[in-house]
Symmetry: C2
Subunit: 268 residues, 2 copies
């Protein structure tokens, strides 16, 4: 078996006993897919996962049988619908989406642009849902994809309400605005986060790919913890953030109430 | 290792060689979760997966580390957001949803009830997305959940346009209408499927839990194959299926065009 297990996989496991590296390798096969690589041939799957083709094929066979992977007529692998079915049970994704969707629909109807819902995952924001009208402005990020906390409206809200230690760690990094790749001033970011906490609202402007304004508000769970952020993203021309703010905050409060929050949290 | 691998798992694998049963057991842990069991304690996880607690804990540890599972403060396991992130790459789920969502939003705005998108998965329909207005009628099925092909509007459309051999296999089963649990007449079902193929539309009525009408139409891919079904579900009272039909067909054609279909497929 030794030639089957890549060294890095074996080292990564804290308990390199009989079965677990195989699980890690199966997960590495899933990791090989991303938004720009939703279909992979066997050799691409092998190369991107670092698993020899023979092992990759055998492991993929188990995943195909269960439905975690699918294979098309051309022999290319993709993520399977059965995996999505199971994954839709994740409380932070599915349950939150179900509560949020009607409120997001209301906002989308009013703004006719993008409405986003995101949660924090590691050091980034993960877009759990987006409703987009026909003809909405070009979007930089996609549902199921990750966004930087420090240069998106929803990310700033999630960062503003995160634990202090987490905030300090992020503020200690050399951050760049995305997609412009311009350095972020830690002092300015610190002020922005304080304003978001004070107002319960973030108004964020971005110049590329097109000038947009994102107006974002926090979503609280039953315990009052900020568990998600809701935003509308509209073209900068004609945008009236002062009018959008109350709509976004109202919808975010509706979602919070749907998650069990009894009364609106104070905003200082 | 022998006492670690439950017999049924070992028998199920076609190649009971070194690593694969461990992958099957990891997948069995994921299988232990469902819509009524989104949170599981270790002992529930062990019992529902048929994997001894010690092995379940070790395997769950690998899945936790990668993010396929999460664990809350009470020690309960749930499906992890990282799994949802990867699973959202499934072409039949995510890509389809992204194309369909704006059209679904249009329909929901017009009908103010439920708008459903489903695909066939095995012998059932899988709900890929649902938009529901505030105050919409009680829903029997949920997004990410399965629905019977023979007793839902979207299911009947998917069945009507499935391969003949698949249809015959389903028609050969002793089917019961759900949730009423009344036998389905194969001859009547065969006529219904022929009408759906002729009209490019299904109008399905259900009495429980409340009287509803579902009006559903097929979604075609670039090759003209029916890959999904779109429906609106409205309360039976005041419903005017003859008016809803054109709206649903129009939205379904819009989605088909978004998937690359050049011209509307013939309906006779």
């Amino acid at each position: 078996m030794s030639e089957e297990v890549p060294a890095q996989t074996r080292v990564r496991g804290r308990r390199p006993s009989q079965g677990e590296p195989v699980v890690d390798r199966a997960l590495a096969l899933l990791d090989a897919f991303d938004a720009t690589h939703p279909y992979l041939t066997l050799s691409e799957l092998s190369r991107r996962s670092g698993i020899p083709a023979s092992s990759a094929l055998r492991l993929a066979g188990r995943l195909l049988e269960w439905g975690a992977l699918e294979r098309d007529a051309a022999g290319r692998f993709s993520i399977g619908l059965r995996l999505w079915e199971v994954a839709s049970l994740t409380p932070r994704g599915h349950g939150l989406r179900q509560v949020a969707l009607p409120f997001m629909g209301d906002l989308e109807e009013v703004t006719r642009q993008h409405v986003l819902l995101a949660v924090r995952e590691g050091d980034e924001a993960l877009m759990v849902e987006r409703l987009s009208s026909h003809g909405a402005v070009a979007a930089l990020y996609r549902p199921g994809g990750r966004m930087p906390l420090h240069s998106t409206g929803v990310g700033l809200v999630l960062l503003a309400f995160a634990e202090a230690a987490f905030q300090e760690r992020i503020l200690g990094q050399s951050l760049m605005h995305q997609p412009e790749n311009v350095p972020v001033s830690p002092a300015a970011l610190r002020r922005t986060l304080a304003e978001i906490r004070r107002d319960g609202l973030s108004t964020f402007r971005r110049g590329a790919p097109g000038p947009i304004v994102s107006v974002a508000a926090p979503v609280h769970d039953a315990q009052g913890t900020v568990v998600a952020a809701l935003s509308v993203v509209v073209p900068a021309e004609n945008a009236e953030p002062r009018l959008l703010g109350p709509a976004v905050r109202t919808a975010a409060r509706g979602i919070s109430r749907g998650l069990g929050l009894r009364r609106a949290p104070g905003t200082a």
